[in-house]
């Protein structure tokens, strides 16, 4: 915790529903451990994220303070301030966070306090991640906890140790906002405490910290939204409809995506199934009967890949290897061979496409 203030918040940014329980465990256990150090604390689920939707970025916070007044101030906010560490539970979130409509895609580190740490669960290198993470006007630290993102469900918890490994890492990167000893002591009350303690230690030791200077990182294109006043809003709770042929540009949805459908156009049989089954209306017919993908709105559900009758025609590929949301069919149009090279390269870069679950 920084010296000038007696309150610090841990921001856990995660994939809605898939990691809701994970974030809940992390924030709650951090606060319980802090209580063992005579600190006070509470957790905040950002209300705007509720109801959470599968994959749509969401936030939970652990607020830890030395005194009740400092805590009370933060506990009456939707997003507590003085965020000393942002835990990024899925590294594709570094591309940005668009949690709900109208507010735009916010940088993953938009609320990180000067000198704070962005803790990312990832196998990628700092360079790869900094390709997405916008620069700050102050120094900060990029910490990487080696690991796969842990995805569960609403009713089924994926108990793979990511929760305790992350808590261990938080203790390390915050220089003891909560001490490892307190975390281990707290884990003593959990099921199989030895395993939890081992996971805490492993996270504490394996996290790698990289100091990032002010100005280093991707360009920050985020412009906070301007809110009209009550005389500027239309009366009667009315919003203009989308113009036919266009779509809702105030919610792009692509930051929900962890994998994107990559189409092998030369094997496409033009059956129209991908277009038909996409719940997000993201397949755009091309003159020759292919279907290009609208990567601005695709949320990467994978139904198209699962429903495509041609093996390997649509594959779900890790989002983090892609540069932009530009549609790719025009590349195929100009040079099919070059497109195939690009496609193969991306699949390789991603360490292969996601396995197809097969047809029932």
């Amino acid at each position: 915790m920084s010296d000038e203030t007696s309150v610090g918040a841990v921001d856990v940014t995660y994939r809605g529903i898939f990691q809701k329980n994970l974030a809940g465990v992390i924030t709650k256990e951090l606060v319980k451990a802090a209580r063992r150090e005579d600190k006070v604390g509470g957790t905040v689920q950002r209300y705007g994220d509720s109801p959470e939707r599968n994959g749509i970025p969401a936030k939970q916070f652990a607020v830890i303070a030395d005194d009740m007044d400092s805590l009370r101030v933060e506990m009456t906010k939707y997003e507590p301030e003085n965020v000393v560490v942002v835990c990024v539970m899925d590294d594709t979130l570094t591309k940005g966070v668009e949690s709900w409509a109208w507010y735009g895609v916010r940088p993953i580190n938009v609320n990180l306090a000067p000198g704070g740490t962005l803790l990312v669960v990832s196998h990628r290198s700092p360079e790869e991640l900094l390709h997405w993470i916008p620069r700050r006007t102050y120094d900060w630290t990029l910490a990487i906890l080696p690991g796969e993102p842990s995805f569960g469900g609403l009713w089924v918890y994926n108990d793979d140790g990511t929760d305790y490994r992350t808590m261990g890492a938080v203790s390390r990167v915050t220089g003891g906002l909560i001490s490892l000893d307190s975390l281990i002591a707290q884990a003593g009350s959990a099921k199989n405490p030895d395993l939890r303690a081992a996971q805490l230690r492993e996270g504490y030791e394996s996290v790698q910290m990289h100091p990032i200077a002010a100005g280093v990182g991707a360009q920050d294109t985020y412009v906070p939204v301007e809110m009209p006043d009550w005389t500027q809003m239309r009366e009667g709770l009315v919003v203009p409809a989308v113009e036919v042929g266009k779509n809702n540009t105030l919610f792009m949805k692509y930051t929900t995506r962890t994998t994107r459908p990559l189409v092998k156009f030369d094997t496409c049989v033009k059956c129209q199934i991908c277009y038909t089954v996409c719940p997000d209306e993201c397949f755009i017919p091309t003159p020759e009967g292919h279907y290009d993908v609208n990567y601005e709105h695709c949320c990467g559900c994978g139904i198209c890949a699962q429903s495509c009758p041609v093996s390997g025609c649509i594959e779900m590929v890790d989002e983090s290897v892609f540069e932009s949301n530009e549609p790719l069919h025009k590349v195929f149009e100009s040079d099919p061979a070059a497109y195939e090279d690009l496609r193969a390269e991306k699949v390789a870069q991603a360490g292969g496409a996601n396995p197809h679950y097969g047809i029932y």
Partner: protein, 374 residues
């Protein structure tokens, strides 16, 4: 705004749709879950209804997830209506159009009126308003009930149309009681069909069969009069499976005989597609275990639970007077429900982990759970 020409094929009532209309009137940019099949139903509905359509929607996922101020994915005029008001919003809208056209206050033309509701809003709270709407033959209106089998928008609570035994936020599987969802799913389309002889068209559809679904919406709008279409749409969030399986799970529900594709036009009952083949004995139903075991909400099911579920589905097909549609048993119903009061069994429960959200109640190691990076 210029309304483009409606290219929806002008088919006779009993012809089937062969060409998919390409315009979207429910567009990209809605805050629905990955793999939300209810959103797909909205898309099909809007697509086939076309631009001269008014849509009202009750509170629920298809309200809150779709339209967050100051944005909307709707190209059609859309208005929110209260959770229990699908029927009354349709009546109010259709009645106003009728009288304003009669008085020459607006041009006299065909305008489709569609009110959609969820299993909770339509099957539970708003059932009386659906009944009222389906009685009033003066008005052309369609009630579309998208059934994702829970109050999904409030984070998955049991509705009257939640399957027996499913885990929801209000019907958890506990260490003392394995099953707390004791109600068998309400058969709303048959209930409405049987009770409303003046309703012109009733149909049960599935998000997994888009052309059939669009056909049913089109027929409902073309025949006019009060009509009702229900769709069965998998909910990856609440049913707990990998979003990419959504569409196939909808199809699987039909393959297992759980979802039945039927419609009833002016009193004539008809089966469609896969269901038709099942009825004619050309295709065997798959065991319901294939369907149940792919969903986290049934992770706590014992083999006995699965058997009971299967026996109820078999009864639908073998014992009902209208197979898969209307329960009037030809022989008394044989099997009593499993009471589910025995503790959840470790073999099925998996590793239970305390959760800050009270949701991590534990579950079995089953296929296709969680996100597609799992």
């Amino acid at each position: 705004m210029a309304i483009p020409e409606l290219v929806i094929p002008d088919l006779e009532i009993n012809r089937r749709l062969t060409v998919l209309p390409m315009q979207e009137y429910y567009t990209s940019g809605h805050r629905t879950c990955q793999g939300c099949e209810s959103a797909l139903v909205m898309r099909y509905m809007a697509k086939i209804a076309g631009p001269r359509t008014l849509v009202t929607g009750t509170t629920g996922c298809m309200y809150v997830a779709n339209t967050s101020y100051n944005s909307t994915p709707w190209a059609l005029p859309w208005a929110h209506t209260q959770l229990g008001s699908a029927g009354s919003s349709a009546i109010g809208t259709a009645a106003a159009l009728k009288v304003l056209m009669r008085k020459g206050k607006i041009p006299d033309e065909r305008i489709n009126v569609i009110a959609f509701c969820s299993d909770g809003g339509g099957g539970d709270m708003g059932l009386a308003t659906l009944s009222a709407a389906l009685q009033d033959t003066r008005y052309n209106l369609l009630i579309l009930l998208y059934d994702n089998e829970s109050y999904a928008n409030t984070d998955i609570q049991a509705s009257g149309m939640t399957p027996w035994g499913a885990v929801t936020s209000f019907t958890p599987s506990g260490t003392e009681q394995r099953i707390t969802q004791h109600r068998w799913k309400k058969n709303v389309p048959a209930l409405l069909m049987a009770g409303h002889p003046t309703g012109r068209y009733f149909a049960n559809a599935s998000s997994g069969f888009g052309m059939d679904l669009m056909d049913k919406v089109r027929i409902a709008l073309d025949v006019g009069g009060p009509t009702f279409v229900q769709t069965h749409d998998p909910c990856p969030k609440g049913w707990d499976f990998d979003p990419r399986m959504s569409h196939e799970l909808a199809i699987l529900a039909v393959e297992c005989g759980i979802t039945v594709l039927w419609d009833c036009l002016e009193g004539e009952l008809r089966y469609q597609g896969l269901t038709k083949q099942q009825v004619e004995g050309k295709v065997r139903r798959k065991p319901v275990a294939d369907y149940l075991r792919r969903q986290g909400r049934f992770a706590h099911f014992t083999d006995e639970d699965v058997d009971f579920f299967q026996s109820r589905i078999d009864e639908m097909w073998e014992d009902w007077i209208l197979p898969g549609v209307l329960r009037v048993n030809q022989t008394p119903f044989g099997r009593l429900p499993v009471d589910g009061s025995s503790p959840r069994q470790a073999g099925h429960a998996g590793a239970a982990v305390a959760s800050g959200n009270g949701n991590g109640s534990g579950g079995a190691q089953i296929e296709a759970v969680g996100g597609n990076r799992a």
